[in-house]
Amino acid sequence: MSSTELGLPALPAKPYPPEVEARLAADARELISRYPQSRSALLPLLHLVQAEDGCVTPTGIRFCAEQLDLTTAEVTAVATFYTMYRRRPAGEYHVGVCTNTLCAVLGGDQIFDELSEHLGIANNRTTEDGSVSIERIECNAACDYAPVVMVNWEFFDNQTPQSAKQLVDQLRAGQEVHPTRGAKLCSFKETSRILAGFADGRPGAVDESGAGGAPSLAGLRLAKGEALPGTPGAKVVSPRHEGTEA
């Protein structure tokens, strides 16, 4: 009988290979230095090990515990509390479909169902080739762009079932994909490194995609006298670029 069948506790996790350990330890020192107390760096460190492995592994947990002088049980308790820390590897592109009430009603439910069928995978699973994983996500603070899809936590606003399926097809075909708000997609692991607290080093990444879409600017434009779409009665007081002091 194997130990699993006997229900014996798992053996202590293996450490990272020495060269990986040394590289991550240098990153960990940098992150820990940003806080008055070292334990505050635990969430960043968990993002860091996820950037290495695509999920939080027993080895990653051991690493975090050693860096912060905690037990692996203490680290595991934290890692399992937060939904962004994955226990199974995410795909290279992790696709989240908002199915909280507003997005769901506006079409998020249909988007998720069609996407799941299109990819042949269920919630929180990854395609066999490891390219795409999908997840039903909670409200992502973009309700004025509903229905919303996130890929590696960049915004793909105003989606339809068709646009979402096209999006994952492009991702699987290795095509370059740009979010409506955010920078050109990088891999899930690279994204996790930004989340750990290391700036995205790609030139121009910060500036990509402007200040926001039409919903973000709707109020400002209206206040400046522009008419909003679908409002025939809207009064145009001082159109932009005509230099009036509204």
Binding site: H47, D109, I137, R181, G182, L195, G197, A199, P215, G219
Partner: protein, 452 residues
């Protein structure tokens, strides 16, 4: 439809004023719009005078509770020999709420300037931004803006020659709604499970690392620099007597033009709908939330409620985060409430029994009703469980979970009964989608999908 007031009189862009300018997230553009003028004014004052000014201006918390910001600052004990901390709550996760994320994406410097001013006032030398993790584009710009501010001498040692120091750490969360609760946020920032703490002691006395701590919402802090730059009288000239100032109203759902509308406090949903094109064409309003899913829902009869702290409170709900989620007559209220309840069950931290167990059982009952398998007596059971959560939970998450259930049963009990009596949901979910009525979902995007 004609509006009594033209749009430009009803709206007051302050925080959003620079969003249509060239690269508004940069220090250069922010400065061109008067950025960091408020800080200069603050540094010329004594810290206590800054606190008094913000208190006198009447700025109230924009994160949901509406507590006076200046008073929170005043609670910090001075000369106590302990480090003080400012923690900005950027965990925006309340369903329907979408104001802080666009604000930080378009203009992160408005938050940083506010943080420097607040830190100067409460004598804090290390401040934190706790940003929810699921918004990488915002994290990227916040990290870049902090780096820019260091380079320009707005952060670091001896800020602008004033002798004061401040470091800012941008901290990404990892997916937990409960971390928007200020004491859970502090536990999370200390590297623990995000579970709320017993109060008292309040964070002002024993917050981060058991030191005096102010926790403020992004929009609250970003509203501080304009008060310093333009004065409290200007601020009080906007809004209502007890709810002065401007704020971001986030309109979403079945409306012609969803988006961010910055207006003086006290505007009504009727006014907002009139100037923005109303509910989507061919449909009528059914129910809406004034401030996210945790605030009791409203109906058509509440269209003229002034959207300020007092007005919404007097009408039986809460201003919350001013997340105006609008649903039209195609929406099944049972489906909407079931989904929100699943959210609360998913996000319940498990610390206290009423919330952990109650939300679980609410979901079981609601799913059964939605599927047409409800029993007579289920509605009383729902209300009974909601009553056992509301006010009896450890933190406000439980109260929030009860809100949609109690309010929807108050306004739409007949619809719940219909699900039970007819053994089915009478609604077609396809009719509620954005693409309902289009020949196919392949049809080209409507104007609401056009990005600037």
């Amino acid at each position: 439809m004609t509006s009594a007031e033209p749009a430009e009189k009803l709206l007051s862009p302050v925080l959003s004023a620079s969003w249509d300018d060239h690269r508004p997230w940069t220090l250069e553009t922010y400065r061109r719009h008067g950025g960091y003028d408020g800080l200069r004014a603050a540094l010329a004052m004594a810290p206590d005078d800054v606190i008094a000014l913000v208190k006198d201006a009447g700025l109230r918390g924009r994160g949901g509770a509406g507590f006076p910001t200046g008073m929170k600052w005043q609670f910090i004990p001075q000369n106590d020999g302990k480090p003080h901390y400012l923690v900005v709550n950027a965990d925006e996760s309340e369903p329907g709420t979408c104001k802080d994320i666009p604000l930080l994406f378009a203009n992160p410097h408005s938050l940083i300037e506010g943080m420097v001013i607040a830190s100067y006032a409460i004598r804090c030398e290390h401040a934190f931004v706790y940003l929810r993790g699921e918004v990488v584009p915002v994290l990227r710009r916040l990290q870049a803006a902090v780096a820019e501010a260091y380079e320009a001498g707005y952060l670091g040692k001896d800020i602008q020659g004033s002798g004061t120091n401040l470091d800012i750490t941008v901290h990404a969360g990892a997916g937990a709604y409960i971390c928007g609760e200020e004491t859970a946020l502090l536990d999370s920032l200390e590297g623990r499970r995000g579970q709320p703490r017993l109060r008292p002691p309040f964070p002002a006395i024993a917050g981060l690392y058991a030191c005096p701590t102010v926790v403020n919402n992004v929009e609250s802090i970003a509203s501080v620099p304009p008060i310093l730059a333009r004065g409290k009288d200007w601020f009080k000239s906007l809004g209502t007597e007890k709810s002065p100032g401007f704020t971001l109203y986030s309109l979403s759902g079945h409306v012609t033009n969803p988006g961010q509308y910055e207006a003086p406090l006290g505007i009504t949903l009727r006014q907002l709908l009139e100037i923005t094109g109303g509910v989507r064409a061919g449909h009528r309003l059914k129910f809406w939330t004034p401030g996210g899913s945790s605030t009791p829902m409203f109906t058509e009869e509440h269209l003229d409620v002034p959207l300020d702290y007092e007005g919404v409170g007097a009408a039986g709900s809460m201003l919350g985060t001013k997340a105006l989620q609008v649903f039209d007559e195609t929406t099944c209220v049972v489906r909407a409430v079931t989904r929100w309840t699943e959210f609360y069950a998913h996000e319940s931290c498990g610390k206290c029994t009423p919330c952990r167990e109650g939300t679980y059982w609410l979901v079981q009952l609601l799913k059964r009703i939605e599927a047409g398998q409800g029993h007579s007596g289920d509605l009383e059971k729902l209300l009974d469980i909601a009553d056992n959560i509301n006010g009896k939970s450890f933190c406000a998450l439980g109260d929030g979970a009860a809100s949609p259930i109690v309010s929807s049963l108050q306004h739409f009990r007949a619809e719940y009964e219909q699900h039970i009596d007819e053994h089915r949901c009478p609604f077609d979910p396809a009719a509620s989608t954005v693409w309902a009525g289009r020949a196919s979902v392949h049809e080209s995007a409507t104007e609401r999908e056009v990005h600037a």
